[in-house]
């Protein structure tokens, strides 16, 4: 018997329809990486490490006019309920690809020809919307590495549960819900850099879900900026 996902206008974890889970964002958490970040959305946690711009190995991958962006999304074996076998899967390969395309639009790749910028995302704890958490961490790590960007990229999901449009899909809302729509967005130019959807909905519903996801991205963006300010604020200065 499918458990009721909405009770008294609240979701299974007590959130309102348009409420994000609790956010935690920290920057500069690793010593070796040029830039790094930790991002948490409820029980989904990812860390990202960035190396670059640096020399390209293998050399044949380098581009004469711009830097190449290489992105790897990976889930730790212990991050999921059942242990996931280490190494890339078809799913993580697809997510690595869309994550790269989510970050590329904001990076001034032309400024670093014949180099590589490598982004490594590790999901430490998975409770749905992990690709969004990964992108949020990656954007912060790139900023921490001093990679020049047009803007930060913020990402979150929205969807449909029991016919209701909701923000930030968590846990069993992913498996039991009707629709999941992750988005990545950069507010400065109001552009969407990641957009995927699985589920079933009408055109007006999809439009509402996208708008809600963008609102969520804008809130996450504020938290990302806060994390950067905290790291780079000088003691005693406002």
């Amino acid at each position: 018997m499918k458990e009721q996902m909405i009770k008294d206008g609240l979701r299974f974890d007590g959130r309102r329809f348009d409420e994000l889970r609790q956010i935690e964002a920290r920057v500069g958490i690793l010593k070796n990486a040029d830039g790094s970040a930790y991002f948490r959305l409820g029980d989904s946690i990812a860390i990202a490490g960035v190396y670059g711009p640096r020399k390209v190995f293998p050399k044949h991958q380098e581009e004469s006019e711009r830097a190449i962006l290489r992105t790897r999304y990976n889930m730790a074996a212990f991050s999921t309920t059942e242990r996931s076998r280490p190494g890339p899967s078809r799913r993580s390969t697809e997510i690595s690809m869309v994550t790269r395309q989510a970050l590329m639009p904001v990076i001034f790749l032309d400024e670093f020809p014949r180099t590589a910028i490598d982004v490594h995302i590790e999901v430490l704890q998975a409770d749905a919307s992990t690709r969004c958490v990964g992108i949020n961490a990656a954007a912060l790590a790139l900023a921490d590495a001093g990679v020049p960007m047009r803007d930060l990229v913020a990402s979150c999901s929205a969807g449909k549960i029991d016919g209701h449009v909701v923000l930030d899909i968590a846990g069993k809302e992913d498996t039991e819900g009707e629709l999941d729509l992750p988005v990545a967005y950069y507010p400065h130019e109001k552009k969407i850099t990641l957009l995927q959807m699985d589920g079933l909905a009408s055109q007006p519903e999809i439009k509402d879900i996208i708008q809600l996801a963008i609102k969520g991205c804008e809130k996450i963006y504020e938290k990302q900026k806060e994390a950067l300010r905290k790291k780079y604020a000088i003691e005693g200065e406002v």
Partner: protein, 260 residues
């Protein structure tokens, strides 16, 4: 084949034209042939312009997934054959091939077109539906061609009969069609400069800013959206996405008519 310069494509599109004289919302010639591979339970060959793909459906008996013990299993895979393009290399599937297979799978699975419960045989035994897509010639828009071929092959498929040991009898062609109650279809759009074009050719994909592939299905009470996948290295404005959703409904229905 000589590659067409991306700058030239962008210039032509900025003047509201396409290099093959199509209008922005026009598909190339679409041809769907079903039942082209005798050994497959279902098959289809699709051409969109010069792009050509073949999809084959094979069915076998296997174990269901633990969380859906009464349902059949769908697996979609794609091969970007080296003969299809000078860019394709032999070897294990690359990221583009994996993405394509997963996006086609998503459109079919999320559309709920297949009633997986009807593929239940007995305890611990269900029908496994394998869709394999072979790309034979790449002139762009592999997503739509692949999805059309996969769905046409599913529509063409007949479930094999089972012998007394509940193993499929492949030698005899089954009579029972695969239970499909709607037709999911993929439509792909690209943004080039300020314009949105449907059914991009290979040259248009290379010149594009961004791509959005949208799956739609003719559910009982109108058209529903079942999948979306954005690609490309540039962002899309919300208005672009909304325009594409609107075009996807129309173009999806056109493609749907190509499947019997």
């Amino acid at each position: 084949m000589i590659g067409i310069d991306s700058e030239l494509i962008r210039e032509i599109v900025a003047r509201d034209k396409r290099i093959d004289n199509r209008s922005f919302d026009e598909y190339r010639n679409v041809v769907v042939e079903q039942g082209v591979v005798k050994q497959a339970e279902g098959s289809a060959r699709v051409r969109i312009g010069n792009t050509e793909v073949i999809a084959g459906v094979k069915m076998g008996v296997g174990e269901p997934f633990p969380d859906t013990p009464n349902e059949g299993v769908l697996m979609v895979a794609a091969e970007f054959l080296p003969l299809a393009s000078p860019e394709f290399e032999s070897g294990p599937p690359g990221e583009e091939s994996i993405e394509l297979a997963r996006v086609v799978d998503r459109a079919i699975r999320e559309s709920k077109a297949i009633d997986f419960k009807k593929l239940f045989i007995t305890e611990e035994k269900v029908w496994m539906v394998y869709i394999d897509i072979d790309i034979l010639d790449d002139d762009g828009n592999l997503f739509d061609a692949a999805c059309l071929a996969a769905v046409a092959a599913l529509k063409n498929a007949k479930i094999p009969e089972l012998d007394e040991k509940q193993a499929p009898v492949y030698e005899k062609k089954g009579t029972q069609p695969l239970p499909m109650n709607s037709i999911p279809v993929s439509t792909t759009f690209v943004k080039i400069g300020n314009n949105i074009l449907t059914d991009p050719s290979l040259a248009e994909l290379e010149a594009m800013d961004a791509r959005l592939t949208v799956g739609t299905v003719n559910a009982g009470d109108g058209i529903q959206f079942c999948s979306m996948q954005k690609g490309g290295a540039t962002g899309l404005a919300v208005e672009d996405v909304e325009k594409i959703l609107e075009m996807a409904e129309r173009k999806g229905d056109e493609l749907r008519k190509k499947i019997k």
